[in-house]
């Protein structure tokens, strides 16, 4: 399952739950260091694919899944252990010397250095999610999996978190897969957007807008319309001024 230089490689991944085929002979390549958004309607198998890449679900015998290691996940909820201080949460499962110093460095990057010894219950939703991001970063992941990490945040916090994720991705360059249902978020953050439907990838769209990105860029609306139509959402064609 390991080869850090080769990015993600999936061949022939099929997953069924009872009679429902969630992933159907899916193939996927992610280049090393690439930021890829995975879009799809709910129930399209986005999370199933992410769980397989994370190693939470076993790879079926007839499929090949190669991912860079180590792998880190940020879930929709922070999932911090309430009985451990923030830095101990970040250092959870960390091997090697000076876990506190390394956790501190990661927390500094997400702007939580002041909360090193705080209990998770004292943090706001956005702060807790930043701590979860620090917990993912501290192990220098080869593959960073983000499972709708901004979905539970308020709109303003979400904008700040999105910018933070892009900054961290540019600084550390892990191969990143962002599962989201938000088309705008995909266009703002990713190099490439994949649309998952009926268990396969039905669209693979390169996003080459210059960074930092903004909704105001002329290419944005076109990409948005294209992704929405791939998702089967009818968009009223309002010509932008």
């Amino acid at each position: 399952m390991a080869d850090a230089d080769k990015g993600v490689r999936v061949r022939g991944l099929t997953r069924r739950f009872r009679h429902n085929t969630v992933l159907d002979r899916l193939d996927l390549n992610l280049a090393p260091g690439q930021f890829v958004a995975l879009l799809g309607r709910s129930g399209s198998g986005k999370t199933t694919l992410l769980r397989t890449l994370a190693g939470l679900d076993a790879t079926p015998d007839d499929a090949r899944v190669i991912v860079p290691t180590p792998t880190a996940v940020v879930f929709q909820e922070p999932r911090l252990l309430p009985w451990k201080s923030i830095w101990r949460n970040v250092a959870l499962g960390l091997h090697g010397a000076q876990p506190r110093q390394r956790a501190q460095a990661a927390l500094r990057e997400v702007g939580l250095e002041r909360h090193l010894d705080a209990w998770p219950a004292t943090l706001s939703g956005g702060e807790a999610q930043r701590a979860a991001l620090a917990r993912a970063l501290v192990r220098a992941p080869g593959l960073l999996l983000l499972d709708e990490p901004f979905a539970a945040l308020d709109a303003l916090t979400r904008i700040r978190m999105q910018a933070l994720v892009v900054d961290l991705w540019r600084a550390h360059a892990p191969t990143t897969l962002l599962v989201t249902h938000d088309v705008d978020e995909a266009i703002l953050l990713a190099d490439r957007a994949l649309v998952l439907a009926d268990g396969r990838i039905v669209a693979d769209i390169t996003i080459d807008l210059p960074r930092p990105r903004s909704h105001a860029h002329p290419g944005f609306a076109a990409l948005r319309a294209r992704l929405l139509s791939e998702l089967g959402v009818a968009v009223p064609t309002l010509e932008a001024a």
């Binding site: 190693g55 252990l81 009985w83 451990k84 192990r139």
Partner: protein, 277 residues
Amino acid sequence: MSQSVSLPAAGLAVRPTRPWPQLRLAPLRRFATPLLLVGLWQAGSMLGVIPARTLAAPSTIAVSAWGLMASGALGHHLAVSLGRVSIGLGLGVLTGTVLGLIAGLSRLGEDIVDAPLQMIRTLPFLGLVPLFILWFGIGEVPKIALVALGTSFPIYLNLFAGIRGIDGKLVEAARVFGLDRRGLTWHVILPGALPAGLVGLRTSLSVAWLSLVIAEQINADAGIGYLINDARDFLRTDIIVVGLVIYALLGLAADALVRALERRALAWRPALLAGAR
């Protein structure tokens, strides 16, 4: 508009009727009824309404308590009782914890341990006293065994439920970050089950005193229970009440101990964090 004027006026009208607002009586109010009852009890005893062989007067009880303390008898009996409770509770907590961990941490353990324990649990354990006397005689062993048996169940049941009630999402996250089975147990499952385990400990403590009271009625020659039984033979209601008060104080002290333990071990809990502010 007329309302907003009339309200403060009404407030002002009430104020002069309370001449000493500085004296804060609210915290003391809770003690008023018990004190009144003790006062009535004392008066009843002095007027002969309550005969001494029914219930001794509070003043007599206080004098007897002082006498028992001064002679060292109370200290001796208290030490014997405390010893029984400590050993019995220690054994019970140990057994309950070990069985709870075995049943909670593995399915095989659950199948082996849980079914028989759920069956035995339905027995009122105090009903086992006659059997215990036949098995263990009338020495220290049946007394300690009764306390141990009674205290192991609350620990077992709460710890087992606590382990099984851990949020699966936390376990999943910890697995992603490289924790193996041992790491999961140590960092996620045991700390997560600790609050339930401490609830079990609190229940166990109250069961421990109850078991002790029963156990000390069986042929003891020392201990608070012996003190009470011996006093019964001589119609000394004052000494019986002293014994009961000691039982109550011990129960209170044990409860305070567990509360202190909870404050330290569960400092991370939102309820405790809110209380600390």
